[in-house]
């Protein structure tokens, strides 16, 4: 019993030092030196100012930008939460219907053939993190009509930019391809500056 108490007390002190300080500080040290950009959150700077991170989605409402997925947390990356919208919730149904109506109104002007049934689910359902940096390629292709019209770019050119900013599956296998909205919008700004 006494032996166990001694071992517990000493063990916890030593293990807290090793596992709780040495280990994370070692990873931090190596990470900061070798993978500096990634370790600091893959920040994107424009003219020296931080405009976000390539891994964090942000809200876009202007017509000349591709729009991110709806966010339950107003795209706040420092206080995240799930929507927790249930599969049988009347409020879930209403929220999706609202997002769908807004999407149709925004995109339908530029893509007249668009129907509600064609709206990709990611465009009208909130993501898990609230800061999903990506939209699906299908979603981007629909928005491309608006971007092309507002920015007076050929649709082909916009679609090529979408392709350039689509991240593929991991090792070609894992997950789904997605279009990085912030990077795509930055590329558009560069294109039509």
């Amino acid at each position: 019993m006494k032996k166990d108490l001694t071992a517990t007390a000493v063990g916890l002190i030593v293990l807290t030092l090793v596992l709780g300080l040495l280990y994370p500080l070692a990873v931090t040290g190596v990470g900061q030196v070798v993978f500096n950009d990634a370790a600091n959150g893959s920040q994107i700077r424009v003219d020296g100012k931080v405009v976000g991170s390539r891994l964090l989605g942000q809200g876009f409402s202007r017509a000349e930008y591709f729009h991110s997925r709806p966010s339950q947390s107003d795209y706040n990356p420092s206080a995240t939460f799930f929507s927790n919208a249930g599969p049988n919730g009347a409020d879930t149904r209403d929220a999706i219907a609202r997002y769908a109506a807004a999407y149709l109104k925004t995109e339908g002007r530029y893509d007249p053939g668009l129907t509600r049934a064609q709206i990709p689910p990611d465009a009208v359902q909130t993501s898990a993190s609230g800061v999903d940096p990506q939209i699906t390629v299908a979603n981007a292709r629909i928005q491309a009509h608006r971007i092309a019209a507002v920015r007076r770019l050929p649709l082909d050119r916009v679609n090529r930019l979408i392709d350039d900013h689509t991240d593929g599956r991991g090792l070609g296998l894992f997950g789904e391809p997605g279009v990085n909205v912030l990077e795509l919008n930055l590329a558009l700004d560069k294109e039509t500056r």
Partner: protein, 576 residues
Amino acid sequence: MTVQGWIQILVFFAVLTALTPLLGAYMHRVFRGDAILGSVLGPVERGFYRLLRVDPRQEQDWKGYARSALIFSLGSWLLLYAILRLQGSLPFNPAGFGGAPADVTFNTSSSFVANTNWQYYAGETTMSNFSQMAGLAVQNFLSAAVGIAVVIAVIRGFSARSLKTLGNFWSDLTRATLYVLLPLAFVIALFFVSQGLAQSLSPAQAFTSLEGVKGVITLGPVASQEAIKLLGTNGGGFFNVNSAMPFENASGLTNAVSMLAILIVPAALTATFGRMVGNRRQGWMIYGAMFAFFAVAVAIVYAAESHGSPAQQLAGIHGGNMEGKETRFGIGSSSLFAVVTTVASCGAVNAAMESLTGIGGAIPMANMMTGEVIFGGVGSGLYGMLMFVILAVFIAGLMVGRTPEYLGKKIGAREIKLTMIGTLAVPLFVLIATAAAIASRYGLKSIYNGGPQGFSETLYAYTSQANNNGSAFAGYTGFIQPNAPGNAGSFGITFADLLGGGAMLVGRFLPLVVVLAIGGALAGRKVAPAGPGTMRTDTPTFGGLTVGTILLVALLTFVPALLLGPVVQGLTDRMF
């Protein structure tokens, strides 16, 4: 469902199965005392024993072993509770957060020491970097190491050693940490950083979005914590949205590695078991039984999520259910992750569990309701499974009228009684806690969604906590932060915090002691040579019998409860 989706699932199955015997063999050597890394880390190991003043060769009987494990866990609990409550006065606190209230901290401390990592709090608005690193991440390692140590001790009892003892707790704990968890975590953490997971002690970085909205990017020692959170089947996220946060899980590739990290140790322990009892086929039989549950669960969840939710269909949207799912994972990787994290008692989530379809949410619950024995927690999954194997042997023995025998050892009345306690106590506790929470006004305060979803939230909460999983239908709450972030003015829902905390402690330590007692009873028992009448336990037939036993004993207990919540939701298009 898509072909691409299925291919990634099948590749994942194959990689997991291929790595199982490799890590299994490695761990076998670690606990035999000739670890491959022994030449490098051996001096560290021996130095550690000197500091602790323990003799690693001094064997303990089951009571001594259990006493050491319990005292160590109690010490861990007290230390963690102190760190979390005092975090306002401790270093590495760039945001200046004070401690969370006592009831919430009771829940959190119990949660991390019990390898559950249920979180009523939101990491990035509640915890300082010091609490995350020196408090929570340390318990991520240690609760996992305790689980591994205990299962190794139990296997020694099952094996043909002639000793009546189970080994030395301090030695097993040290070896699990030093040779298994720490090296793997270090490598995985560095890989994670290279892929974009944050790892920094800097204060949050302010930014102005393209459309001029100001925000802050919260950083922290995320990758290092992430690696052990997955490897140790812990699951507590640095951020509130856990592995859905891009800084915790940046891409399809990190997601695949995350899922592998969750399952690899529990899976490999089946191979370690096979080697330790001298018959690798015994290990594969257990792996096969676990895998059968796992594969079926994946197929059902993937199908259900691809079908979409009633809410979205009534809103006129076709396609799969993307509510609460990230684009980079899509339906396939999110469904696979939901099953991986609930068959293992991990509880990390890369999608909102509460937004899964009715059936898609019923399966994760059912996974946990088996008592977390389908791979399960590191160590605890296998020792839970061994109790079901004993039950299967017993039932088979009754059917053919022979004395039940496992690995040549006769199974007596005492072992069967202990097994019944070990397999039935936790389910009983879950049902009583859920009933109490549903029937009382104290329990209703925690519920977010109405109708059957509110019941599902409650059932999920107590199933997850008592089985040490930690994932949640996250609408269910026990902690209110009116002025978030920070803990100023925050308060807990005491009923949910205490009942949940109690559930986690009971669900962790009761089976742990029971299974050590079983190991102790079997240790040193004479091994009868296999004869023509011996029932073989390394065959697919016996694997099937084990699967059937789990279905009958564990899952059947919960069918009525499942029918009231998620199954109702899965069968109706009604909105609530």
